[in-house]
């Protein structure tokens, strides 16, 4: 028996990924645990390890292939004693068994017959990857969604028992996408709205109204088309979704951090085993404030507010390929040094693209800091399903009024974006005030 090697789902949200490169060639002997290939997922580059032993018989999906659906056979492993003649039989059989929910063997993009609609792979993958089980949709609805580039999981079914039917996909196709700016200046408007790191870039598929490509082509504007990575697409999808579905409001507060800087300098002078940053204080202060105000450590669902039992702070990090949010888990129970060292390690591995899925998925609150770029103040977009995100600006000396007289203080402006369904304005204000008092009186963070 030949063994099909399938495109793995390396995270629960992954529906497709890019096969970055093969580390084994056809004919190579493979032992369990050997790294076969590198897959670029939504968030990072991951390695695919061999589970079985054998010889790499045939590579079905070449390195550099984009948008490979989860569970698509990417290679065939020959068991001991098998030769290449076993391959032809395996190619078709493997494909069929790999995608049980798929309506057709055409779903496998690799050996696609000429007639197979290219998009057929997508709907098959969508259902196959749904962690909660099958997405019930008619075959026609699957194909139409695939052709339109729509995610079936995001479509509400109105057929028998909630099955997604043709009419639902057509409604989803026709539905206006409210968040997109209607003005021709969509791109610049989006860019002007400060969002964490790179999130402002509009995703072509998600941007309604004006299609940048046809617009630019029509006007003869010259450009270089940089293909979107999985990560870029995920950023676009998640933030568009958040912007469209979350009613959010913003609260801004100025924090004077001279005391904090003093404490930081003193602590950093004591040991070489850590080097605290202002951001480490912000993480700890946020975590402590969240512990005090669990209403904001929460996510909205239609039936209940999910107040998380642990405080896991996602910290936005810019990487060469895009935004990623590694998590300081149980940040309320970690000291500054521990937070600091953990953050350095996470940030390094984020840049290298070697974070494990659990290290960047499942935070309960986010912090985005653009202070290092001199940004004074901005509003970050909530990272769904989280309830809030704190946007931190630069720490700079500013004139302030102290005891009726003009004085100089180091001030840092923080703006929180809150899902209004999760918490009302007064709750958000209270959180910021707790946060501010922790930041301005850093010794209280030790309590």
């Amino acid at each position: 028996m030949t063994i099909p090697i399938l495109m793995p789902a390396l995270s629960p949200t992954m529906t497709e990924g890019n096969l970055a490169k093969w580390l084994k060639k056809e004919g190579d002997e493979v032992k369990a645990g050997d790294v076969l290939a590198e897959i670029e997922t939504d968030k990072a580059t991951m390695e695919v390890e061999a589970v079985d032993e054998g010889r790499l018989g045939k590579i079905l999906v070449e390195g550099g292939s984009q948008g490979v659906a989860v569970n698509t056979p990417i290679a065939i492993l020959l068991e001991e004693g098998e030769d290449e003649s076993a391959l032809s039989a395996a190619a078709s059989g493997g494909a069929a068994s790999a995608a049980p929910a798929a309506p057709a063997p055409q779903a496998a993009p690799a050996p696609a017959p000429a007639e197979a609609p290219k998009a057929a792979a997508a709907p098959a993958a969508a259902s196959a990857s749904a962690p909660g089980g099958r997405v019930f949709a008619s075959p026609l609805a699957r194909r139409l969604a695939g052709q339109a580039g729509l995610d079936l999981a995001a479509i509400k079914g109105t057929g028998p028992n909630g099955r997604i039917v043709k009419a639902d996909v057509e409604a989803a196709k026709a539905a206006p996408r409210p968040a997109a700016a209607a003005a021709p200046a969509a791109a610049s408007a989006a860019a002007a709205q400060a969002a964490p790191a790179t999130a402002a870039a509009p995703a072509a598929k998600l941007s309604a109204g004006i299609d940048a490509k046809s617009y630019s082509d029509k006007l003869g504007m010259r450009y270089k088309a940089v293909p979107n990575s999985s990560m870029r697409k995920t950023i676009a999808r998640r933030l568009t979704e958040g912007q469209q579905t979350i009613p959010q409001y913003h609260l801004t507060v100025d924090c004077q951090i001279d005391a904090l800087l003093k404490v930081r300098a003193e602590l950093n002078g004591r040991s070489d085993s850590y080097k605290l940053s202002v951001n480490d204080f912000i993480i700890r202060a946020s975590a402590l404030a969240l512990k005090k105000m669990p209403a904001l450590n929460a996510a909205w669902t239609d039936d209940a507010m999910l107040q998380y039992e642990s405080v896991d702070v996602s910290v936005a990090a810019a990487t060469p390929t895009g935004l990623i949010t590694p998590i300081i888990k149980n940040a309320d129970r970690k000291g500054l040094a521990e937070i600091s060292n953990e953050m350095k390690d996470l940030a390094k591995r984020a840049r290298e693209g070697t974070l494990k899925p659990e290290e960047f998925q499942g935070g309960t609150f986010s912090i985005s800091n653009l202070g290092m770029f001199g940004i004074k103040q901005f509003e970050a977009l909530i990272n769904p399903p989280q309830g809030a995100i704190l946007a931190v600006g630069v720490s700079e000396q500013r004139p302030v009024v102290k005891d009726g007289a003009l004085a100089i203080a180091t001030v840092m402006t923080c703006t929180i974006s809150i899902d209004h369904r999760v918490a009302d304005g007064a709750v958000g204000a209270q959180f910021l005030s707790v946060f501010k008092s922790l930041i301005e009186d850093p010794l209280s963070m030790l309590l």
Binding site: P103, L140, R143
Partner: protein, 465 residues
């Protein structure tokens, strides 16, 4: 009469009305049905069912006449028209009794008489002019059906000029027959009398017979009927009837030329007229469109609490459409959320020899709607079971949207296709694409394999042709 108040009163116990009543009762609604004549309505008593019994006699006769083809001998094959009709009446009678039993089993009150709306939520019932009573109901469903449409100068006379009712209970066998109208009803009677030996002429005003069917299927049907000795005149108007004691001369006008055709009897089958008279609709907000009651997808009329289903409403005028609406309206009244009827999913059948069946768009309609189509065809000649049955003539045609693979329509002619069409209807209702149909395993040897092959052919992959 113990009970005068109901949740639901259904007016008319045809295939729409009695199904609505049973479904309403199943859902716990206190239900009555008012029927003036026969439980089961036209369909069961004077339509679908008795004609199928007649056509079965014709089919058996046809087979007996061709016994030698099967290595059998049957000499002196003849028929007793009275007995053929008697069998047909018995079949209808048996089913009529069945409906009575079903209504009783579901505790639906049957009120014998004619109903008329008598103010909001009130139905006055009379029988032969005498009042039976006035009944109250929160919901009233009009399911009064339709009758044969008549044209001026072509009125039924019960002797020489027939409509369906007389045509299925003839006093004598007409040696020659002119059928005006080539829809399903006209063609079925033409096929029946032709099989028994009448000299049958069919006159159709449109340019082809079975005009709602796919043009290719229409053409094949015409060829098959003509081969059986039928004369078919299309693009023709029949008028100026001159009656003598036992025959009629009809002036048939085609392309400016008029031909006198003399026949024993004339059957008029030119469509239906809805039964909306004497219902008291004039005092309601109900809207009519060419006589038919206008309803929304939940079978509601413009008058709150008043619903309508079946032939009295918009087309298609088919028994199974009425029954389906009966279920929808009952569930809607009971506060369920039924799915509206999608008329594109309603199959149509003609039980002539050969049979014709279809669902969805014809090739021409699909193109008219702007679809790029893929068309599959598979002839009966290529099917083992068809050959074994001695039925090598026919075609299974499928039409797909080239872009999405949606099955847009299926059209068949040949043996047993009225039983086969449901396969495509299920496929269409479940929104399958060509891929799913290709993956479906069809049993061998069956006529249904042609359904598979036709799909394969649409994509250039037919195996047996």
């Amino acid at each position: 009469m113990a009970d005068m108040n109901y949740d639901v009163i259904v007016v008319g116990a045809g295939p729409g009305g009695y199904v609505a009543a049973i479904r309403a009762a199943q859902l716990g609604l206190h239900t009555a049905v008012v029927e003036r004549e026969h439980l089961g309505g036209i369909c069961l008593n004077w339509g679908c069912i008795p004609t199928k019994a007649l056509l079965r006699s014709a089919e058996v006769m046809h087979l007996m006449k061709h016994a030698a083809d099967y290595g059998l001998s049957a000499d002196g094959v003849s028929f007793d028209l009275a007995k053929v009709v008697e069998r047909s009446r018995k079949v209808a009678g048996q089913l009529n009794g069945g409906v009575r039993h079903l209504l009783k089993k579901n505790k639906v009150t049957v009120i014998d008489g004619e109903a008329k709306l008598a103010g909001k939520g009130q139905v006055a019932v009379t029988k032969g002019g005498a009042a039976v009573g006035t009944f109250g109901a929160r919901h009233i469903i009009i399911a009064t059906g339709a009758r044969a449409r008549t044209l001026p100068g072509l009125e039924e006379d019960g002797k020489l000029v027939w409509t369906y009712k007389k045509a299925m209970t003839p006093d004598g066998f007409p040696k020659s027959l002119l059928v005006i109208g080539s829809g399903a009803i006209g063609i079925e009677f033409a096929s029946f009398y032709n099989a028994l030996g009448s000299k049958v002429t069919v006159v159709e005003v449109m340019d082809r017979i079975l005009p709602v069917e796919d043009a290719e299927i229409s053409g094949l049907a015409r060829k098959a009927f003509e081969k059986q000795g039928m004369r078919i005149i299309t693009g023709a108007k029949a008028g100026n009837l001159r009656k003598s004691a036992d025959s009629v001369t009809v002036a048939v006008e085609t392309g400016g030329k008029t031909e006198d055709i003399t026949v024993d009897r004339v059957i008029v089958a030119v469509g239906i007229s809805p039964n909306t008279e004497n219902l008291g609709l004039e005092n309601t907000r109900v809207k009519l469109d060419r006589g038919h009651i206008v309803t929304n997808p939940m079978c509601e009329t413009d008058e709150p609490g008043l619903y309508a289903i079946g032939d009295v409403t918009q087309p298609p005028w088919l028994a199974h459409k009425a029954s389906h609406e009966g279920v929808i309206v009952a569930e809607h009244i009971a506060g369920k959320h039924p799915h509206p009827l999608d008329v594109r999913m309603i199959p149509g059948c003609t039980y002539s020899h050969p049979q014709v069946a279809s669902v969805g768009l014809t090739e021409a309609k699909a193109k008219e709607k702007g679809y790029a189509v893929k068309v599959g065809r598979f002839p009966f000649m290529g099917n083992g079971k068809a050959i074994a049955l001695g039925e090598p003539e026919g075609l299974v045609k499928t039409i797909f949207d080239a872009k999405t693979g949606e099955l847009l329509g299926a059209h068949m002619i040949g043996a047993e296709v009225t039983e086969l069409i449901q396969g495509y209807t299920v496929a269409k209702t479940l929104e399958t694409t060509e891929a799913d149909l290709m993956h479906t395993v069809f049993p061998h040897p069956t006529l249904s394999e042609m359904m598979h092959e036709s799909v394969l052919d649409a994509y250039g992959r037919a195996i047996h042709f």
